[in-house]
């Protein structure tokens, strides 16, 4: 299996998942069910993570298809722009859903519902354009195949980095700043779960967690800018593929300190139960793995 194949497996998940998530959220409002509502927020957060490899593998698929004369490159470009726009909205939706999981306020559910519906529309549009790349038979007679139009997100992102020589170094600085914020806060929170840090209720340490999300957000944005500017440098690199894989699992482990009742109820002198400690230790190791693979990117896995 190559990354182009992986794209075919992943690319349906955001659209289908958003449909299910919106359904869950609407059902939770009708049934007044807090559990259903939480489940929909978790779904949006996870989709925010999954949409990242869905986009990245799309670039790999593009590389595979770029030399094939029967594949319309214009349609690929239109699909990529639509996909990046949908990805941006998906990340915002995922972030707001995370905030709601961390600390629910009433406006969150309205905000998330609106964001998710908009994202669903954009995601379906991207998917629809993507369908035309390999399936000319779905084109309604008398209409033209999709062409790139406003906003040219992918092209604009690449141009921003390539046309301004200072953008890449600035992004490198902020990628490191984001890394420190994310790793430092995640380390502290997990050390509390492990019992290395004691004398403080977990709920109080948990208040720092949004700073980890700020770090993660900075790194997703700066990382995407690197990727948009030099996609081939990353999709052809094994260390990068593993880094993204580890990052996604590490991202999922953030759910434990965010929303676990087990963790939320820890009194100052308790440590987390065994499952919690395993997740905490795993989370630390995963993030160290992400840093390791990121640092080794230029040395491992590139041809």
């Amino acid at each position: 299996m190559n990354l182009a194949h992986l794209h075919l497996l992943l690319n349906h998940l955001p659209t289908v998942g958003l449909g299910i998530g919106v359904g869950l959220l609407l059902a939770s409002l009708l049934k007044k069910s807090e559990d259903l509502k939480q489940a929909s927020f978790v779904a949006f957060f996870l989709l925010g993570l999954l949409a990242i490899p869905a986009y990245l593998t799309g670039s790999a698929a593009q590389t595979v298809l770029q030399d094939q004369p029967d594949v319309p490159q214009q349609v690929i470009a239109a699909h990529q722009d639509a996909a990046l726009l949908a990805l941006i909205l998906m990340e915002i939706t995922g972030l707001v859903a995370w905030i709601a999981l961390w600390r629910f306020r009433r406006w969150h559910q309205t905000g998330i519902l609106v964001l998710a519906i908009v994202t669903f529309g954009l995601m379906a549009r991207a998917a629809n354009i993507g369908g035309h790349i390999r399936h000319p038979e779905i084109l309604v007679e008398g209409t033209a195949a999709p062409v790139p139009g406003w906003p040219r997100t992918a092209a604009a992102g690449a141009a921003l980095v390539l046309d301004n020589p200072w953008v890449w170094p600035i992004c490198e600085v902020f990628h490191f700043v984001g890394l420190c914020l994310l790793f430092g806060v995640v380390l502290l929170v997990n050390l509390r779960l492990l019992g290395f840090v004691k004398g403080v209720a977990f709920a109080d340490v948990n208040r720092l967690l949004p700073w980890a999300m700020v770090g993660l957000g900075i790194n997703v944005v700066t990382g995407m800018l690197f990727f948009l500017a030099a996609p081939g440098q990353y999709t052809q690199n094994t260390a990068f593929v593993w880094k993204i894989g580890l990052m996604l699992i590490a991202g999922v482990t953030l759910l434990y300190p965010t929303m676990s009742d087990q963790a939320g109820e820890l009194t100052p002198e308790d440590r987390a139960p065994l499952t919690g400690r395993i997740i905490a230790a795993g989370s630390i190791c995963l993030w160290i793995g992400v840093i390791f693979l990121g640092r080794f990117l230029p040395y491992l896995g590139s041809e």
Partner: protein
């Protein structure tokens, strides 16, 4: 001075770091440098945020054990930093970004020591120290990250 730096560069250790191969030598030391640094700066930033008033429910006493980790992170960063310096001594010593970075690191580590004595073992609120510390870490990270670009520019 120049000949001393040249001699350091030519030493066995420096050659090993430069030419050791992929899994050990330069990349591994670079990773350990990054790892130590992100532990030190990350934890220090978290404590600084607490001192600035975020997550104010965390008692300072509960964070005391974190200092041992931060000093361990500093030790790892400093040790690997010396190795990285040795591997390319002449170029680093003449790189203004490297010197700026050293100054910021020195200030940030001083702030860390003062945070321990004045805030954790003293009466100060530490707000100003925390803000200065965050600024110095940002300066150190920026200068460190930009070293490669400045080196190109200077050369």
């Amino acid at each position: 001075m120049g000949s001393l730096l040249g001699q350091i560069e030519q030493s066995g250790a420096a050659t090993w770091i430069r030419e050791g191969g992929v899994l050990y030598g330069y990349p591994l030391i670079l990773f350990l440098h990054t790892f130590g640094l992100s532990t030190l700066v990350g934890l220090s930033s978290a404590i600084n945020l607490r001192l600035l008033g975020f997550a104010a429910g965390i008692p300072l006493a509960s964070l005391a054990r974190i200092f041992s980790l931060m000093w361990a992170g500093f030790g790892l960063t400093a040790a690997t930093g010396i190795l990285l310096f040795v591997s390319d001594a002449t170029r680093h010593a003449s790189n203004p970004a490297f010197l700026v970075k050293l100054v910021f690191v020195l200030l940030a580590v001083t702030a860390l020591a003062l945070t321990w004595t004045r805030v954790f073992r003293g009466q100060h609120s530490g707000k100003i120290l925390a803000a200065l510390s965050l600024a110095c870490w940002f300066g150190a990270l920026s200068a460190g990250r930009l070293m490669a670009y400045v080196a190109e520019f200077v050369a």
